[in-house]
Symmetry: C2
């Protein structure tokens, strides 16, 4: 199995679905602003997880394309609004939506992605009870994402951040949407609540693993692969799991939160200190244990190609190095 | 019937519902920011329309309180985001959400109101098919509100705005939510699609009438009742129906878009010109005809106290003078 081919096989339908289900309508510039980020690509991992979950419980993945599109739109909505809040001006190598259309334009583009996602999912031709469960789950997930983003913004001015708080933030900001993807796919594929809940846990746990690994990647990946300054989280003073572990263990990091005037040698030195203190290793181990726990959740499924692919997606999410 | 008593009888349940269905949870400050505007009051006209529609089709109004709360939260979500976009720093006589919590806080508070509204409505104990219709309608309505707000922001830099464009903007920005309120109430009250659609039209038409009247009120109401500078729309150069009519008829308005340095005498003079040109009268007549058309939609209902109250709410919305 070539995993990228497997993901691509599904994402072509999602790409096509985005064009059909979020057409450029009047007022056209609003829809151009809304389509800008979804059209810029991305791997469509969440839609792939959703469609694979449907297939893995014996459903027809093509029948859930609208739900996969809705999920991708929700993901893009969070990116558009987060970039305004975090003043991040570049996304997917392009100017962010708020750079091109201003804050007002980006707020409205995000709101439109959000409501269109719920329009799409609530108009699906599936049994009303399953769809309603998906709407309830997706809206709850969106509330949790807001909570996670609020915590993340708060961390910047909070004196201390505990590991527990960090994990809660990561769970809400990132992992619940993976959980929702897997569960929505299962529900619309006709799975029992027990199976659907196990798939939620799969997505949630793998999502946490993925985010912790993201912090590790920032430290250990060569810049030419990373595409940005290595150790940027450290320099910005971001409370990653690695930083929290180090601070808790009295590790002194001169460059933490120091901003731009940091040399590559200083970053190498800091990374060496964090390797020695066990902070990087700790994050790697915790990420690996969430991954294993998550994958175990799929034991509830019968063996199938889709199940194998889901497991491979989980491995890929965590072992990718950029 | 004392209309204010009738509205109050219903709004107490909505107020209580907001406290129960949007409790202050962790992270508390996010929920405080989200609750700030709903807790500041407002007449709860939309929830009242929703509950009255349920009653007028023979349903139990108490069974739709969650839907009424959801609708009020959606309304508040639009206010929170609009105030950021329009740089409006005061709302309901208090500092706007973005003034108290910053733009990032207000974006998230709005998003939370939005997703919580869908959580509440999708978790109602009603038959799934009706709830799903309501979710589909409410999400479509939110998309239209985004379209209307985009048009409104665009008008500021657009050289000419036609009456047709103005009416489309008003319909989307304001009136579809009244339409949705009435239709959701009808659907959850067990009405047929035909009756539910008629109630949608009632809300939509009365909503347009209400918004046109809002422009008139800005001109003709004494400042001590208005609570703000009379003619502020004119001074700001806002494309109201009155201004569009006047511009289309070659009426010269020195103070249009002139900003703050305008005297009360100049405003009196401008209003006199607009009376003479028939621009104010034109808006009043159009508003009245939308009101009548809207009220006629209720002919489909059997006579009842709830129907009379709905008609009285419609009259009140348009004949209020502040």
């Amino acid at each position: 199995m070539d995993l990228m081919d497997e993901i691509k096989k599904r994402s072509v339908h999602v790409d096509k679905g985005i064009g059909e289900m979020l057409p450029i309508e009047h007022p056209e510039e609003l829809y151009r602003a809304s389509r800008y980020l979804p059209d810029a690509g991305g791997k469509r991992l969440r839609p792939a997880v959703l469609m694979l979950a449907t297939e893995a419980v014996g459903g027809d993945p093509m029948s859930v394309v609208p739900a996969a599109v809705a999920l991708e739109l929700v993901h893009n909505f969070t990116l558009v609004h987060d970039d305004i809040m975090d003043n991040d001006d570049v996304r997917r190598g392009m100017p962010a939506v708020h750079v091109k259309w201003g804050s007002a334009g980006a707020i409205l583009a995000g709101d439109t992605l959000y409501s269109r996602a719920f329009e799409i999912i609530s108009s699906m031709e599936k049994d009303p009870e399953s769809i309603l469960k998906c709407v309830a789950l997706l809206s709850k997930t969106c509330t949790e994402i807001c909570e996670g983003q609020w915590m993340d913004v708060d961390f910047e001015t909070q004196e201390t951040v505990t590991e527990e708080e960090y994990l809660e933030m990561v769970e809400k900001k990132t992992s619940v949407l993976y959980g929702a993807a897997a569960k929505v796919g299962a529900l619309l594929g006709g799975a029992s609540d027990e199976v659907a809940d196990a798939l939620y846990e799969f997505g949630r746990l793998v999502g946490i693993s993925f985010q912790i690994q993201d912090d590790v990647i920032d430290m250990v990946t060569p810049e030419e692969i990373l595409g940005k300054v290595r150790g940027s989280d450290l320099i910005e003073g971001k409370r990653t799991l690695i930083a929290i572990h180090a601070l808790n263990h009295g590790v002194e990091l001169d460059i933490f939160g120091k901003g731009e005037a940091v040399t590559p040698e200083q970053i190498d030195e800091a990374v060496a200190i964090l390797e020695k203190s066990g902070s990087i290793g700790y994050a790697q181990e915790l990420s690996a244990s969430y991954l294993e726990e998550g994958k175990k959740m799929l034991d509830i499924l019968e063996d199938s190609e889709a199940k194998d692919t889901l497991l491979a997606v989980a491995d890929y999410m965590v072992t990718r190095n950029y």
